[in-house]
Amino acid sequence: MKLFTNKIGYLTIAFAMTVSSCSKDFLNAVPELDLSDATVFSTPARVLSQVNGLYGSAKSGSLFGGRYLIYNDIRGEEFVNRTTNSVTGYSTYQGNQDPSDTYLAGFWIQGYLTINRANLFLEGLTANPNAVSSTLAANYRGEAKFIRALTYFSLVQFFAKPYILDKGASPGLPLRLKGETSSSNNNLARSTVAQVYDQILKDLNEAETELPDSYSTALLNTTRAHKNTAIALKTRVLLAKGDYAGVITEANKIVSAAAPFRSTTRVAHALQADVSAVFKAPYTTTESIFSFPMDATNAPGTQNQLGYYFNAGNVEYYLNTGSTGIYSHPQFAATDDRKTKLTVATTAIARFPSSTKFSGVSPYIDFVPNIRYAEVLLNLAEAEAEAGNLNRAISILNAVHKRSDATYEFTGLDTKANVVRAILTERRIEFLAEGFRANDVLRRGEPLNSFGAGTLIQPSDPRYIYGIPLVETQTNPGIGN
C-alpha cells in the first residue's frame, strides 16, 4: 500500500506539472513581427513611420513605383512591345485589356489600400490628439490628404470617363473617406467623376494650408509633400478638369511671371540646366517636386521597374520609330538633349532605340518621378494658351524646349490650336516614359492612338478606359458597371 500511495503521489505531481505548464499565458501568442493597432500612435516616431507608410503604400511597384506609369505609356503610340508577355502589359498594349486583368485590378487594390491607410491615419490623429505636436499633426494631416488626393486622381483617370467629356457627370469611383477595418460597408455606389474631383481639390486645398513650407533636406523636399507639392498637383487636377483659370491661379503661386520661370516662394523649384540631371542620383534637384525614392532594400519589385520595361533591363517596350511615334517627330530633333542623353539607338537587348531615363540596372533604384517642375510649367503653358494668353504660353514652352535643344525655333505658333498642339507635343517629348501619355490624351477627350491595337481608340469605345475590376464588382454589388 505504501508503494501505491507513492505512485499516486508521482501521478499527482505529473498532472500538476502538466496543468501548471499551462498557465494562462500558455495560450497567448501575439504577433512578434507586427505591431498591434493599439500601439501605433504611442510615440512620435511611430506616427512619423505611419506617415512614411502612406508614401510607401503609394510607391508600390504595382502603382506609382512602376506599373501606373508604364501602363499609361504603353497604351499610346510611343512604344512597341518586344516580348508579347501578358504579365508585362501586353493585353493593355493591344487594347485587349479586360476587367479580369490582375494588374489593372492591382491599381485599384493598391490605390484603395493607400486611401484606406490615409483615412485610418487621419482618424487616428484625431483620436490621439497628443501623439505629436499640433503643428506636426497638421503637417501630417496635409500629407495624408495629399496622398489620398493623388491616389483618387490617378484612379479616376484610369477607371472613369474623362471629366472633360461630360463635365464629370459619369460614374466615377466609390468615394471612401472613412477608415475600414471590419467586414461591413462592402456595398458602396460610385460617386460621379465631378464629386471625386471635388473631393480631390478639397483635400489639396486643405493640404496646402496644413503642409509645411519645406523640409530640412533636398531629399525630404522631393520625397515628402510640402505646400508647393500640393499646389503643383492642383495644376494637374485642374487642367484635367479644364479649369484653365484655376490652373493659372495655382501655378502662379509657384511660377514667376516671366522667364526664367521659377518658384520664388518656399522651395525654389526651377528647371535644371541639363534635363538628364533630373534622372541621375541623387534625384533631388529642385525640379523634382515629388518623386518616389528607391533603395536597394526598397526596390520596385519584379517586372515593375521602369528600367526593366523601357531600358536595357529587358526592353519589354522599345521606342516606336515609325511616323506616329514621338521619336520621329520634327519637334524632337536629333540634337535634342532628351534624345541624345535620354535615349539610345540600340541596347544589348534589342536593335531598336530605347528610353534611358531610367538607366539603373538591377535592383533598379532610380527614383520614380511623379511631379516635375517641367510639368507645372507645361500645365501652366497649356492653360494660358487655352485661356488666350499665347505669349506667356509660348514663352514657357520655349523655356522647357530650349533647355534641351537651345537652337530649336518653333514655327507656326500663330493660333491657339497650334500653340496648344505644340505644347501637347512637347509633353510627349518631355515626359516620355514618365507615365503621362494616355492620361494626356484622355483628359482632353481625344482618341487614343494605340500602336498595339493598330488603330485609334475613340472615346466611345469601351476600351478607352479601364473597366471596374472584376474583384470589385464581385464584392461590391452597389458598384454598377
Binding site: I8, E32, S91, Q94, N96, N119, T181, M294, D295
Partner: protein, 1049 residues
C-alpha cells in the same frame, strides 16, 4: 483535485472482484506459419482482468480460476479462446490473419479491439507501402482505405499528396487530416521556401511504419477534439519483439519515366503554322508584327540548320525529362528479452525524378525501445533522426508556381522547336533571357531549359529529430497511468540560386536566396486509464487525460543579387545587393483536457462517450476554448443467442451494427494571429514605415464539424468474406473563411478571417475483403473499397457572394458558391468554332452567342450576325465540379507456392478537371503548340475544334480567361501497382538466411480515362480546398519499374 477524486472512485471500484479457486497454467505460443515462438502474446482469463504476455521464447504462466477460458490474442493473428478444463499446460498455435475484423485499432491515446470498436476507422498495413517507389508514406495510401481519397498533384518528387478523409473538411483551413506519429501531432504542410517540394512526412522512413489507422468519424476522432475535423492519420512505428535478434534487409532499385506527354509541333510544322498565323494577323492589324520582325514574305520563323546541314528540330522533352534511376535500402534489427525489446533501423533512399535534376535523398535512423523496468513501470522511447534532401529545378509544378516563366513543365512543351539548346561550339544558345532566336525574326519568350536545368540550384533539406519518452505505470490491476513527452525538432535549409545567364536570375545578374526554418514542436500527454470487468459481463474502460502542444517556428534568411563575378554559383559568393528575405516568427499552442468512457455488456452491447475541452492560441482570447465530444453505440447481433440459433448464424460469422455522433473542430487556422489587427514595418526609400497590414477579427472562434456515422460489420463463412459499410454525414459549421472584402475598402489582402459558412459531406463507404480461393497452395485475397462523397456548401457570407480563387494568383479558375460543391470550375461557355469564319463562339450568361476576332479592334467581339458587342470575359458560369463523387481501390493478392502477385487498382470519378495546360498548348503567341492546331480552321465550311490561327491570339484558346473548351471529365481507372514476388523456398539457413524474397513492381502501368491532360490525378494548386481540379503547366506523373529484395537473417 477532480482527478484525485476520480482516482479515489476508481480505487474503491477496483476492490470489488473476489478471487475464486485458482490454478497455475503454463504453455508456449507459436506461430502456425513457421512454428516460431511468439513473444508478447496477450494471455488472459476470459471475463476477468487477469492477464499476462508471453516471454521471448513464447512461454507464459498464468493463475486462473477453475473452469475459466484463456484468451490468446496478438496483433496480426487470429485470437483463440480455449477452455482450461483440467489442463495445466496449454500450448497454442496462432494463425496469422490479415482480416480486419480481428485486429486492433489504434485510436486516440490507446488501442481498441476492432470487435469492440464502434467508430469508423480503417487500418492500413504499411508493408505494401514500404516497397513502393515513393518518398513519403502518404503517397502510398492511394486506394488502400475506404473513404480516404489521395491525389498526387504531379510527378515532382516529394510533392505532398492531397489527402481527403470523407471529403473536403474546410474551405479556408486545411482539409489535410491530422497526422499523429507515435502520439505526437506533426506538421504536414510543404516546408519548402522555394520551388522544390518538401513534404515533411517524408522525414519518416516508410519502412519503419507498422500500421496507419485512419480515424474517420467523430466517435473515433473526437478524442483529438479540436484537431480532428479533417480526420486523423495515426502512424504507429514498428517495435521490437522479444526473442533473438532478427535482421531484415530490404532493398529496391528502379527506373521511372514521364508518361502521357502531349505531342507538339516539330520545327517545320511550327514554322509553317506560326507564319500562317502571322499572315492572318497582318490582315487585321498592320502592326500585329512590326515590319522589323518579319521578312519580305511576312515570315518571322525561318529554318535553322545544324552544321551538317540538317534542319534543327529540337525535342525539348529530351532536355527536360529523362529515364531516372532510384534506389532504396533499409536494414532493421529487432529483438529483446522478457524485459526489454528494441527495434533499430537504418534507411537510405536515393531517388531521381524523371524531371532532370529533381532528386530526393533520405538518410534515417530509428531506435524504438520498450523496457519493463519494474512490474508496475514500463518505459518506452522512440528516437528518429533523419535527413531529407530535395532538389528540383523550376518546374512550375509546385503549388503556386504554375506560371513561373522558367517552369520547365511549360517550357518543355512551349519552347520554340526550330531553335537549338546548344550552339555548334557546345555553349548554350542564349539571347537576353530566352533561348537565342537564330534566324527567327521574333524572339522566343521562354528561357533555355538546359540553362535553368543545369545552373539553377534549388534545394530544401530537413534535418529532423523526433524523440519520444513515455512511461506507463500500473497503479492497480486495471488502472494505468501513462505519460508521454514528444519532441519534434526540424531544421529546414532552403537554398535557391538563380543563375545570371537565363531564367529567373537573369534580370538581377544572379539571385541567391537562402532561408532556414527552425521548428520546435513539443507535446506532452498524460492519461489515466482504468479497465474493469464486473460479474464477467460488464466491461468498463475509462480514460482521462491532458494534452498540451506548442509549436514555434523561426525563419530567417537573406536574398543577394547582382553577382560581382559570374564565377560564383552560391549564396556565399560576392554580390552587390543584399536584402533581408524569408524572415518570420510564429507560434501556436494547444491545450486540451479529455475523458472517455466505454462500456460493453458481454461483448454484445457497446456504448462509448468522450468529451474534450480545447484551447487554441490562434483564436481570439474570448473564443479560444471549445467543447467537443462524441458518443457511439454498437450491437454485436451475432453474439445474441437468437442469432446463433438461426440458420443464418452459420453463414454469418459476425454481424454488428454501430452508430456514432460527435462534434469535432478544426484547429489548423491558417494565420496564427488572425484575431489581431496589426501594422507592419517597412521602408520608404531608406526610412522606416508602419502600415496597416491586417484587419483582425476579435470574434474568431472554432470551426466545428458535427459528424454522424451509421454502419455495419459483417463477416461470412468464418471470416472468409468481411464487409464493412458506413454511411456518414459531416456537417461543418462556423467555417472560418477569408471573407472577401470589396477592394475599394482597402482592407489589406481584401479579406478578413471570420466564421461565416457551412457545408456538409455525406456518402457511403464499403470495404469488402474476401478470400475467394484458398487451396493452401493457391490463394487469392481481394479487397474492394468504394466510397461516395457529396459535398455541398450551404452558406457563405451570403448566397450571392461566392469565393473566387485564382490559380497561382493569376488565372481566375475556381468558384465556391452556396448550393454547389466547393471549388467549381468557373469560366465562360463556348460553342465551338464558327464554320463560316473560324472564330471561336462564346456564350454569354443570357445565352447570346458572340464570336471573337483577335486584333479585330472595335469588332473583336461581334454577335454572329456581325454587330459589335462587349467581351463575355465577365460572363463566367459554373462549369463543373472538381471534387470526385466516388473513388476507391481494388487490391488483389494472389499466392501460389512461393510466388505472390499483387494487383492494386485505384479509381475515382464524377469530377471535372480544368485542363489549363491545353489552353497553353493552343496559345497563338510564340509558344509551340499541340499538333491539334494543324487542324485549325482554314477555309469557310471547315468543321474543327481549333479556331483560325491569328498570331498573338490568347483569347480564343482560353489563356486570357477560362473557357469550357478546356474542361474535361476526370474519371479514371489506374493500375496503381503490380507486384510479382517470389520467396525462395530453399533452406538457406546454412548461409544464416532465414527468408529471402525477390520482387518486381510496376507503378502506373495503365490508365483508362477520358481526360486529355497529363494525368487525371492532378492538382496544380496543391492542397488547396478552393482551387482543386486544376492542371496548369504541371509536369506529368511517372511510370516506374522497380526490383526489390527482402532478406531475413
Amino acid at each position: 483535485m477532480k482527478k484525485l477524486l476520480l482516482l479515489g472512485v476508481l480505487m474503491v471500484a477496483s476492490c470489488a472482484p473476489l478471487i475464486a479457486q485458482m490454478k497455475q497454467v503454463t504453455g508456449k505460443v507459436t506461430s502456425s506459419d513457421d512454428g516460431s515462438a511468439l513473444p508478447g502474446v496477450s494471455v488472459s482469463a476470459k471475463g476477468s482482468a487477469r492477464g499476462t504476455t508471453t516471454s521471448a521464447d513464447g512461454s507464459y504462466s498464468i493463475q486462473v480460476a477453475d473452469g475459466a477460458s484463456l484468451v490468446f490474442s496478438f496483433v496480426g493473428y487470429t485470437s483463440q479462446t480455449l477452455p482450461v478444463g483440467n489442463r495445466s499446460v496449454i500450448n497454442v498455435q496462432l494463425a496469422s490473419d490479415n482480416k480486419q475484423l480481428s485486429e486492433v485499432v489504434v485510436v486516440g491515446y490507446g488501442t481498441k479491439k476492432r470487435t469492440e470498436f464502434t467508430g469508423s476507422a480503417s487500418t492500413i498495413k504499411a508493408a505494401t507501402i514500404a516497397e513502393r517507389p515513393v518518398q513519403s508514406f502518404s503517397q502510398g495510401l492511394t486506394g488502400q482505405a475506404a473513404g480516404v481519397n489521395i491525389t498526387q498533384p504531379n510527378g515532382l518528387l516529394n510533392n505532398p499528396p492531397v489527402i481527403r478523409v470523407r471529403g473536403l473538411s474546410s474551405l479556408s483551413l486545411s482539409s489535410f487530416p491530422l497526422v499523429v506519429i507515435d502520439g505526437i501531432p506533426i506538421s504536414t504542410d510543404n516546408v519548402s521556401a522555394n520551388s522544390t517540394t518538401n513534404n515533411p512526412l517524408a522525414d519518416i522512413n516508410p519502412s519503419d511504419i507498422e500500421s496507419i489507422d485512419v480515424l474517420k468519424d467523430a466517435a473515433s476522432a473526437a478524442i483529438y477534439g479540436s484537431r480532428a475535423g479533417a480526420g486523423v492519420l495515426l502512424i504507429t512505428t514498428k517495435r521490437g519483439k522479444s526473442g533473438k535478434a532478427k535482421v531484415s534487409i530490404d532493398s529496391w532499385a528502379g527506373v521511372s519515366q514521364a508518361v502521357r506527354l502531349p505531342d507538339v509541333l516539330n520545327a517545320q510544322q511550327y514554322m509553317d503554322h506560326k507564319n500562317m498565323a502571322i499572315a492572318n494577323a497582318l490582315l487585321l492589324n498592320p502592326n500585329a508584327v512590326t515590319s522589323t520582325q518579319r521578312n519580305s514574305e511576312n515570315k518571322s520563323f525561318l529554318p535553322n540548320y545544324n552544321p551538317d546541314g540538317s534542319l534543327i528540330d529540337t525535342d525539348w522533352y529530351k532536355e527536360v525529362y529523362q529515364t531516372a534511376v532510384s534506389q532504396n535500402h533499409n536494414m532493421t534489427i529487432t529483438g529483446g528479452n522478457d524485459k526489454t525489446s528494441y527495434y533499430f533501423s537504418g534507411g537510405y533512399s536515393d531517388q531521381d525524378g524523371f524531371l532532370r535534376n529533381n532528386t530526393f535523398q533520405r538518410r534515417s535512423g530509428r531506435f524504438n525501445l520498450d523496457h519493463q523496468a519494474t512490474k508496475w513501470l514500463k518505459l518506452t522511447t522512440n528516437i528518429n533522426y533523419s535527413n531529407t534532401f530535395n532538389r528540383a529545378p523550376m518546374s512550375g509544378s509546385n503549388a503556386g508556381g504554375a506560371f513561373n516563366t522558367s517552369g520547365l513543365g511549360r517550357i518543355a512543351v512551349a519552347q520554340v522547336p526550330n531553335l537549338p539548346a546548344y550552339l555548334p561550339d557546345g555553349s548554350y544558345n542564349l539571347e537576353n533571357n530566352t533561348v537565342g532566336r537564330m534566324n527567327n525574326l521574333l524572339p522566343a519568350q521562354f528561357p533555355n531549359p538546359a540553362v535553368v536545368r543545369d545552373l539553377d540550384k534549388i534545394t530544401s533539406e530537413n534535418t529532423r529529430l523526433i524523440a519520444n519518452l513515455g512511461a506507463e505505470i500500473r497503479i492497480l490491476e486495471g488502472l494505468t497511468a501513462k505519460t508521454s513527452y514528444s519532441w519534434d525538432r526540424r531544421n529546414t535549409e532552403n537554398i535557391r540560386f538563380f543563375n545570371p545567364f537565363n531564367g529567373d536570375g537573369w534580370s538581377t545578374s544572379g539571385d541567391a536566396y537562402n532561408n532556414t526554418a527552425r521548428s520546435d514542436n513539443w507535446n506532452w500527454i498524460n492519461t489515466l486509464q482504468y479497465n474493469l470487468t464486473l460479474a464477467e459481463k460488464h466491461n468498463f474502460s475509462a480514460i482521462v487525460g491532458s494534452d498540451v502542444q506548442k509549436t514555434r517556428v523561426l525563419n530567417w534568411g537573406a536574398q543577394r543579387q547582382t553577382l560581382a563575378d559570374f564565377f560564383f554559383t552560391d549564396f556565399q559568393g560576392n554580390f552587390g545587393t543584399n536584402l533581408a528575405a524569408g524572415n518570420g516568427i510564429y507560434q501556436v499552442s494547444y491545450e486540451a483536457y479529455f475523458a472517455n468512457l466505454s462500456y460493453n455488456f458481454k461483448g454484445k452491447y457497446f456504448v462509448s462517450g468522450n468529451i474534450r475541452r480545447d484551447g487554441n492560441s490562434a483564436l481570439s482570447t474570448e473564443n479560444r476554448w471549445g467543447d467537443f465530444g462524441g458518443v457511439s453505440l454498437g450491437w454485436t447481433v451475432s453474439e445474441e443467442e437468437f442469432f446463433k440459433n438461426m440458420d443464418l448464424g452459420n453463414t454469418i460469422s459476425s454481424f454488428r451494427l454501430k452508430a456514432s455522433y460527435g462534434k469535432v473542430g478544426n484547429g489548423n487556422v491558417p494565420n496564427a494571429y488572425g484575431s489581431y489587427s496589426t501594422f507592419g514595418s517597412g521602408l520608404y526609400g531608406a526610412v522606416p514605415t508602419l502600415s496597416f497590414n491586417q484587419a483582425g477579427n476579435k470574434d474568431l472562434k472554432w470551426e466545428t464539424s458535427a459528424q454522424t456515422n451509421v454502419g455495419l460489420d459483417l463477416s461470412f463463412l468464418n471470416d472468409r468474406i468481411t464487409l464493412e459499410a458506413n454511411y456518414y454525414y459531416k456537417d461543418i459549421n462556423n467555417l472560418i473563411l477569408n471573407v472577401p472584402q470589396a477592394p475599394s475598402k482597402g482592407i489589406p489582402g481584401n479579406s478578413i478571417l471570420a466564421n461565416v459558412g457551412a457545408m456538409y459531406n455525406k456518402g457511403f463507404e464499403i470495404a469488402l475483403t474476401a478470400t475467394p480461393i484458398n487451396t493452401g497452395k493457391f490463394s487469392w485475397n481481394t479487397n474492394l473499397n468504394f466510397a461516395t462523397n457529396e459535398n455541398m456548401v450551404t452558406s457563405l457570407v451570403d448566397a450571392n457572394t461566392p469565393i473566387l480563387t485564382n490559380t497561382s494568383g493569376l488565372e481566375a479558375t475556381s468558384i465556391t458558391k452556396v448550393g454547389y460543391s466547393a471549388a467549381q470550375i468557373y469560366g465562360v461557355k463556348t460553342g465551338g468554332v464558327n464554320p463560316a469564319n473560324g472564330r471561336r463562339i462564346f456564350i454569354k450568361r443570357d445565352g447570346t452567342k458572340v464570336q471573337y476576332l483577335h486584333l479585330g479592334g472595335a469588332n473583336a467581339w461581334t454577335t454572329l450576325d456581325g454587330k459589335p458587342t462587349t467581351s463575355p470575359s465577365s460572363e463566367q458560369q459554373i462549369l463543373g465540379n472538381t471534387l470526385p463523387t466516388f473513388y476507391g481501390g481494388f487490391n488483389n493478392t494472389f499466392k501460389y507456392a512461393g510466388f505472390d502477385l499483387g494487383l492494386n487498382f485505384t479509381f475515382s470519378g464524377g469530377n471535372y478537371i480544368y485542363n489549363g495546360s491545353q489552353a497553353g498548348l493552343r496559345d497563338q503567341r510564340v509558344w509551340n503548340n499541340s499538333v491539334e492546331v494543324l487542324t485549325s480552321w482554314k477555309k469557310e465550311g471547315d468543321i474543327t475544334e481549333i479556331p483560325r490561327a491569328v498570331y498573338g491570339d490568347n483569347v480564343s484558346n482560353g489563356s486570357s480567361f477560362l473557357i469550357d473548351a478546356n474542361i474535361q471529365k476526370g474519371d479514371f481507372l489506374r493500375l496503381q501497382t503490380a507486384t510479382l514476388g517470389y520467396k525462395i523456398p530453399a533452406d538457406l539457413s546454412r548461409l544464416g538466411i532465414s527468408s529471402l524474397r525477390v520482387y518486381a513492381q510496376g507503378t502506373n502501368l495503365f490508365l483508362l480515362t477520358p481526360y486529355k491532360g497529363v494525368d487525371p490525378e492532378i492538382s496544380s494548386n496543391g492542397d488547396s480546398n478552393l482551387a482543386s481540379g486544376i492542371e496548369r503547366n504541371s509536369i506529368p506523373q511517372a511510370r516506374a519499374f522497380t526490383f526489390g529484395i527482402n532478406i531475413g537473417l
